[in-house]
């Protein structure tokens, strides 16, 4: 047996507490809570007793060992993609001045967070072809939902259109936010269904089934009825694909988590959110602006130092802590640390590395698809150009395929066979990126080849 552990994060000792209580003229710490209803005070709470740090680590190590996902070959994408993150990213985002600070309300001692946020905004604008970015939102889906609310404010309209195939998680989040705002959501299969009732059309540059879309006619159709075009983009694919802003999008959102190196089971995430300049004051979230010092500082010799450049939170009259119920959003705590990791990854890649990574991703995925398509009984669905995800039809059903691969120690792609699109019929969405180990693809092809052998299906 061991004695009860003390809370290692509380510095005050019994002597400290006694001294403070004496000064306050109060008998006990419990007496500080005398205003609380007596009948409910100090309830029985069934939470375990304290543990030593090493035991907590052991507990989590054991729990982690129950996770198989992540330690074996996996071809799941569908919104979460394995990426090659430079080692400098985890090093820099672990610096405790970044980790243990908060929203930079005091700019003089928060220039690290603020300048990094300005780098982030600039990076997102360059990738998306937009004029203005906020400092990031919860994830791509909530960013898309906020974009729909922005479109509603900008147009005064009470409906929005989602162009299928869209990520089901994104569609669901948009519907939840729209339920709150009393906005109608129409799922449309073709952009010709956008009408003057719609505040915007939301379209994925790479649709949920993996195909690359030309955003230009989509934006044109939206603009023809004075609606906005909200584009959803993949930041790595943007190394290769046309900037949505260049194709006419008004708002661009995307998912940055996988480049931040900070997700676990898909979260926390990072919603990229950028827009054309005319929507600046309709933007949700925090925005950082550039400015200069008010007064010159002096050096050690007493000489004036020319006014220096700094960064501040700005355009805050949009925000909840000032505007309350008339704010553009209730957004407060965001995803700053992920935005930092995202920025460092993209900037470390640079213009050439980003393009090369996108092309490597493209070529490796296409090579894997080619090898699978060559297997008897297998088909890779043709539905136009695609980036990193492709639809596979196997001689067996998608659930059977998943079971077969699992028996080979492999996680199958995402089963899309319940969807209504023709391309999705009997199909599994496989994902291969630049970070998928080549040996994993070899193992997949080998396991798929065995499907035919075990089932006896002939092409």
């Amino acid at each position: 047996m061991t004695s009860p552990l003390t809370n290692p994060y509380i510095p005050n000792t019994d002597a400290d507490r006694a001294a403070i209580l004496e000064r306050l003229g109060i008998a006990s710490v419990d007496a500080l809570f005398d205003e609380l209803p007596a009948r409910w005070r100090n309830p029985q709470i069934d939470v375990p007793e304290a543990m030593a740090e090493a035991d907590v680590v052991r507990l989590f190590t054991a729990r982690g060992a129950e996770n198989i996902s992540g330690s074996r070959p996996s071809f799941l994408g569908a919104g979460v993609y394995r990426r090659a993150i430079p080692a400098i990213v985890s090093h820099l985002v672990s610096r405790s001045e970044f980790v243990t600070s908060y929203t930079p309300y005091q700019p003089e001692i928060s220039q690290g967070t603020l300048q990094a946020a300005f780098e982030y905004q600039s990076t997102v604008c360059e990738l998306t072809g937009m004029d203005v970015s906020n400092t990031g939102m919860y994830d791509v889906a909530s960013a898309a939902a906020e974009a729909c609310l922005l479109a509603g404010r900008a147009t005064g309209r009470r409906a929005i259109a989602l162009l299928e195939p869209i990520h089901p998680g994104t569609a669901e989040v948009v519907r939840a936010y729209a339920y709150g705002a009393n906005i109608r959501v129409d799922a449309i299969a073709d952009v010709s269904e956008v009408t003057a009732e719609h505040a915007c059309v939301v379209a994925q540059q790479i649709d949920f089934l993996g195909a690359i879309r030309d955003l230009e006619p989509i934006a044109a159709a939206a603009h023809a009825v004075e609606a906005l075009c909200v584009a959803i983009a993949d930041p790595i694919a943007l190394g290769l694909l046309r900037a949505p802003g260049d194709a006419g999008a008004d708002v661009v959102v995307g998912e940055g988590r996988d480049l931040s190196g900070l997700g676990a089971l898909g979260g926390p995430s990072l919603g990229l959110f950028a827009a054309r300049e005319q929507f600046t004051r309709q933007m949700p979230g925090r925005i950082v602006g550039r400015t200069i010092e008010l007064h010159p500082a002096h050096d050690l010799d007493g000489d004036e130092i020319p006014l220096r450049t700094g960064y501040v939170l700005t355009l805050q009259a949009r925000e909840q802590f000032i505007r309350r119920e008339r704010a553009t959003s209730n957004f407060s705590t965001g995803q700053a640390l992920l935005a930092l990791g995202f920025t460092i990854t993209i900037q470390a890649l640079g213009p050439h590395g980003l393009r090369e990574t996108a092309e490597l991703c493209y070529q490796r995925a296409h090579d894997a698809a080619r090898r699978i398509a060559a297997l008897p009984g297998f088909e890779v669905v043709e539905h136009g150009p695609w980036f990193q995800e492709f639809l596979v039809r196997a001689p067996i059903s998608p659930p059977d395929l998943a079971r077969h691969l699992s028996a080979h120690g492999i996680t199958s792609g995402f089963d899309v066979s319940a969807r209504t699109e023709a391309a999705a019929q009997n199909a599994t969405l496989f994902c291969v990126t630049e970070a998928t180990p080549a040996a994993d693809v070899d193992a997949l092809v080998e396991a798929l080849a065995a499907v035919r052998a075990t089932t006896g299906v002939r092409a």
């Binding site: 994060y9 710490v29 908060y102 700019p107 669901e172």
Partner: protein
């Protein structure tokens, strides 16, 4: 051009203007297999403007930025309402274990039993701590938890055929700004309820505002003045009698954790900020996590997903029958949830009771130490934070709260939250938390007393503060009037 050393103008040169063309920080392998044709040219871009820096240059640049930041690890950070307490490092270690970090959210449940088990146990702990048994960990942050809770209320009213009539949500003027903003996002009208002279909700005004057009009453408890709402049981009784629901903003749970449960007081739904009470790092402004906890009556509307446990001990993602839906694509801020659970297991139930005790003790100590030097609009014992006012200094010395905050920077402290709550003129909202020591609280009070004296003897030194920070006061007016929000190539 930037000058080397402490006075350097680092802000003038972004990464985009550092490095040199052709310089690289990472090597990307070249594909040498069979080459697939790229998509048609109209889908592709020419190039993208990004920095070209060496790896060492990037590390130096972002390291330099980090040193221009003040965190909890740098010194006391008494930012009221934000609960800037020490963040245990073991929690970071756990959340970044590859077995958790690499798991895919769409993997079959049997491949992610480890994470699901942790999430299930965290749900149970939060249910116990709040006394509200229906828990969803899905919301990404406190504000999204609020949205989840109010949408649940909306669904419940819709289910009982009451929604068309109940269009208003009542919010005290002492609430977080997110409360009225959330009510508006959920499609309700907001009616503000004034506070009385002692900081409690004006009960008569609340009674007058209640009626069959009210959907809910949202209250931050303890409130943003750091005060316990002494009428809370009577208030919730009235709210329920009027057919409305009681929403609790649990951002300030750290004041009462282990000692009082929102569920016992009669709340229908509450959200928690795990980055506050459960000590997960604030990251310069996120990520956080904002679980919602509710009564069984509201359980059918919980945001998706929730985690269930079968009789055989296996865990699964599930969805409440009439869920408000997802608020993010996947399962929420799992990395933050792992840290919060590690924290709960490390300190245990007794440790949680100690956190609220010491947080409230420190806040009252600070109130006592500063009492004679600053105005205290609500002069009552406080919970986890205390709201002073810089009105005396403004009136007598022409020194504003803004100047007091900047003076604190020169004395080695992160300033408190200023000009909030809005109902306190020249507000100084100070939250010491339980992880500051007695001598740290005394040192902060001494700095505040020194500032009060300096306001009389040398007010200009406060008007010109801070002078020890990496940069001086910035022109925030110009930033808003002529916004420069992104890098542009130099002409």
């Amino acid at each position: 051009m930037s000058v080397a050393g402490q006075n350097a103008d680092i802000g003038s040169t972004l990464a985009f203007d550092r490095g040199a063309p052709g310089r690289r920080a990472v090597a990307v392998p070249r594909w040498e297999g069979e080459t697939a044709a790229l998509p048609p040219a109209n889908l592709l871009r020419e190039g993208v403007r990004l920095p070209e820096m060496s790896q060492g240059e990037i590390v130096r640049y972002y390291t330099a930025l980090s040193t221009r930041n003040f965190g909890v690890d740098s010194g006391p950070y008494l930012l009221g309402s934000c609960t800037m307490k020490y963040n245990p490092k073991v929690d970071d270690l756990i959340a970044t274990m590859p077995s958790f970090a690499m798991a895919h959210p769409l993997a079959p449940d049997e491949e992610i039993q480890g994470t699901l088990g942790v999430l299930y146990d965290l749900q149970r702990c939060l249910a116990e701590i709040t006394g509200l048994p229906a828990v969803s960990l899905a919301p990404a942050a406190g504000a999204q938890g609020e949205l989840a809770g109010v949408l649940m209320i909306k669904k419940a009213l819709e289910a009982r055929g009451d929604l068309a009539q109940r269009r208003r949500i009542l919010v005290p003027d002492s609430a977080h700004g997110t409360n009225p903003a959330t009510a508006a996002m959920a499609g309700f009208e907001v009616t503000e309820i004034p506070s009385g002279p002692d900081g409690d909700v004006d009960f008569a005004a609340l009674e007058a505002a209640l009626g069959d057009d009210v959907a809910a009453f949202m209250i931050t408890l303890p409130n943003t003045l750091g005060l316990w709402e002494r009428d809370i049981e009577r208030i919730i009784e009235k709210v329920h009698a009027a057919g409305a629901l009681a929403y609790g903003d649990g951002a300030n749970l750290n004041a009462i954790v282990g000692r009082m449960r929102h569920g016992d007081l009669g709340f229908d739904v509450v959200h928690l900020n795990l980055h506050k009470t459960f000590s997960t790092p604030h990251g310069g402004g996120g990520p956080g996590a904002g679980p919602v906890c509710a009564t069984p009556a509201l359980a059918p509307y919980l945001p998706a997903p929730i985690v269930t446990r079968d009789e055989d001990g296996t865990y699964a993602f599930a969805r409440a029958e009439d869920s408000v839906g997802r608020l993010q694509q996947f399962a929420g801020s799992v990395g933050v949830l792992l840290r919060a659970y590690a924290y709960i297991r490390t300190v245990g139930i007794d440790g949680l009771v100690q956190t609220s005790g010491n947080a409230v003790l420190n806040a009252n100590y600070l109130r006592n130490l500063m009492h004679d030097y600053y105005d205290l609009p609500y002069d009552r014992p406080v919970m986890h934070e205390v709201v002073f006012a810089g009105t005396r200094q403004k009136r007598e010395d022409n020194v504003r709260t803004y100047d007091i905050a900047k003076g604190l920077i020169d004395r080695g402290f992160h300033p408190p939250t200023v000009y909030f709550p809005l109902i306190v003129e020249e507000a100084l909202m100070i939250e010491p938390t339980e992880t500051e020591s007695r001598e740290a609280v005394e040192a902060f009070a001494a700095a505040m007393i020194d500032i009060a004296q300096t306001a009389k003897s040398d007010p200009d030194s406060l008007h010109n503060a801070p002078r020890t920070s990496p940069i001086g006061r910035l022109d925030e007016t110009a930033a808003a009037r002529r916004p420069v929000l992104r890098w542009q190539p130099k002409a």
